[in-house]
């Protein structure tokens, strides 16, 4: 049975794997991969370690190879690989070889399921990162500075006695720069910490929820609705 015959029989329409094509021979980023233990077939490729680890957990008899384009010299390999047809490639004695396109229905189902899952997981990771990147500052040790400020602010909030400014260098400078008192500065810092934490927490809730939904999905036709649910919840319901 060929891929096209399979797709017609299952009435399955690719979600995003056919548009999310990875050229693993020329991709400048690291490409990670999942293989079948018995046949050494390439089941999925991804730019995300996370995607491959998740698929490895959800599939029996598989093993993961990380950074395959960095470890193996793929440029000299004689094959064209796109993410929609990973399973046409076998890995023997450190070499990738192309195999004939002749599979049973169950094999094809499993191959396509993994490819689609990889594509949906990649998209999920991309969106989660997009949201997390927006709270990144990008400066060296900025996280530590935020941490110091938070600790000082919590201490000021707890303290009912007269506050010695000298004990709170970060908050003292913060308050001075904004022309506010130390208590107000502490309150300002704590609400910023809360905003930061809740935002990150939302991305983590969504990541875990949808990672598990994708991981446990065994019906290829359901992946489309999982992706729709994620988009609906993350954008329309503003969960992240």
């Amino acid at each position: 049975m060929t891929s096209e015959e399979f797709k017609n029989q299952v009435q399955y329409k690719s979600v995003i794997s056919e548009t999310n094509v990875i050229d693993i021979k020329n991709d400048p980023l690291e490409v990670h991969s999942l293989f079948d233990n018995e046949t050494n077939r390439l089941l999925a490729v991804s730019r995300w370690t996370n995607t491959i680890s998740t698929l490895n957990e959800s599939n029996e008899n598989t093993y993961a190879r990380h950074s395959i384009n960095k470890i193996f010299n793929l440029k000299s390999s004689d094959f064209e690989l796109i993410s929609t047809k990973c399973f046409l490639i076998r890995f023997y004695n450190g070499k990738f070889e192309k195999d004939e396109d002749n599979f049973t229905f169950d094999e094809l189902y499993n191959f396509h399921l993994n490819i689609e899952k990889a594509a949906v997981l990649d998209y999920l990771n991309f969106r989660i990162n997009l949201h997390r990147r927006s709270v990144l500052n990008g400066l060296f040790l900025q996280e530590s500075i935020y941490d110091f400020k938070q600790k000082e602010a919590e201490e000021i909030q707890r303290s009912s006695e007269n506050i010695d400014e000298m004990n709170f260098p970060f908050l003292r400078e913060y308050a001075e720069s904004k022309n506010i008192d130390l208590k107000t500065a502490a309150k300002e810092v704590l609400i910023q910490v809360k905003i930061y934490k809740t935002r990150l927490n939302n991305t983590e809730i969504m990541r875990l929820k949808y990672k598990n939904l994708i991981k446990e999905c065994n019906d290829i036709t359901k992946l489309n609705s999982i992706l729709s649910q994620f988009l609906r919840e993350s954008t329309m319901y503003a969960r992240i």
Partner: protein, 169 residues
């Protein structure tokens, strides 16, 4: 907000070009094609309904009772007084039902009007006990002075990103 049973969002998904849910059940109904064009033209996440019911949609549709516009009536009260009365009414309702008013404050003109009205009619104790302001960094930057001079000094502040925990309570 617990799960995916919000009907007013679910309806839009039916018309989505590639990811429509239950589209196959409706796509042959009269007006489906034109409604899809309309939604694609404006934005896929916006559900278009005319609350005055002047503009007719291509499909058979109706406004849910709680979304219908109230009857127009002439009043002589000015906007300031109207806002203050409404703020007092909502505050009294919160107090009598032992609940808290949660304001999703963006720092823009509408939510600032709500906050100003509440600040004018509520005592410091009422603000502390019955009002929660949800905001983000963007809300703070939008109206820095108002945040520094009033909100942070008088109100309980929480993160908007946690808003689902404050709905329906």
């Amino acid at each position: 907000m617990q799960e995916y049973n919000l009907i007013w969002y679910g309806a839009v998904d039916i018309f989505h070009n590639t990811r429509g849910s239950y589209t196959h059940l409706f796509q042959n109904k009269p007006g489906f094609k034109y409604t899809r064009y309309l939604i694609q033209f404006f934005a896929s996440q916006i559900s278009m309904m005319d609350r005055t019911e002047t503009i007719k949609m291509p499909i058979n549709s109706t406004i849910l009772p709680f979304l219908k516009l109230p009857q127009f009536k002439k009043v002589t009260t000015d906007l300031e007084e109207l806002c203050e009365n409404r703020a007092r009414y909502l505050l009294n309702k919160a107090i009598s039902t032992n609940r808290k008013l949660t304001i999703m404050y963006s720092g823009g003109i509408d939510s600032t009007l709500i906050m100003v009205s509440l600040l004018k009619v509520a005592t410091d104790k009422e603000l502390k006990d019955y009002v929660i302001v949800l905001l983000t960094q963007a809300s703070i930057f939008e109206n820095k002075n108002f945040f520094t001079n009033y909100i942070i000094k008088k109100c309980n502040i929480e993160s908007t990103y946690d808003f689902t925990h404050y709905l329906g309570k």
